[in-house]
């Protein structure tokens, strides 16, 4: 399984903070995004947003990053701390 977490505006728009996805048929972050986007039209729009940031096991990565079972994948908007 892959643990997926969402933060900030994205978490509110999805109305979801965390979910588990089977790692079967998922090789990269792009595959995971496609699977999540299939849920409905709103999720499709949100996961097609190119400004979305991705972290795998707390490190920033891009869409090509390889995934394996047990990974934690986070999706979130550009950061605004400080």
């Amino acid at each position: 399984m892959i643990n997926v977490v969402f933060f900030a505006a994205l978490r509110e728009q999805l109305e979801c903070s965390e979910l588990s996805v089977s790692s079967k048929n998922i090789t990269t972050v792009a595959d995971l995004k496609n699977q999540l986007a299939n849920k409905n039209e709103q999720w499709q729009t949100l996961f097609n947003n190119t400004s979305l940031l991705i972290a795998v096991n707390h490190e920033m990565v891009d869409n090509e990053q390889l995934l394996k079972s047990g990974d934690e994948v986070a999706f979130f908007p550009p950061v605004t701390g400080g």
Binding site: A8, A55, A74, P78, V79, T80, G81
Partner: protein, 150 residues
Amino acid sequence: MNQEISIQINDFSLADEITLLEQNNASDGAIVTFTGRVRNHNNGMDVSGLTLEHYPGMTEKSLAKIINTAKTRWNIGRVKVIHRIGELDIGEQIVFVGVTSKHRHDAFAANEFIMDFLKVQAPFWKKERTEQGEAWLDAKATDDAKAQKW
């Protein structure tokens, strides 16, 4: 636990933080500190407060990485980064960066570097409370530009 980083709900004392940077540290002649506070306005709108969310675990790692990069680029002594989370009112302190060094240049540069990268890499998000309701802040292109100049 990394003593250089603190993610906390509670406020911090600037005087206490400076004391910690100074104590038993006679070799460093320079201390540069930055404190960020909640402004009462943003993009022309009155702001009554903020809520700060973060990604526990990644936040600490991301800040540690920024601090380590600063240590490889400048000759610095002690570093402390504090970032508050949760609900904050106008005028409250949000963030603190303190750096010591033998001479001022390293502490000035490293402090600004840490702050510039915290702004674009550390997973914090601000939600503003205004008369029109609550809204998540958009990232600023000028912050990206500042980080890129390093």
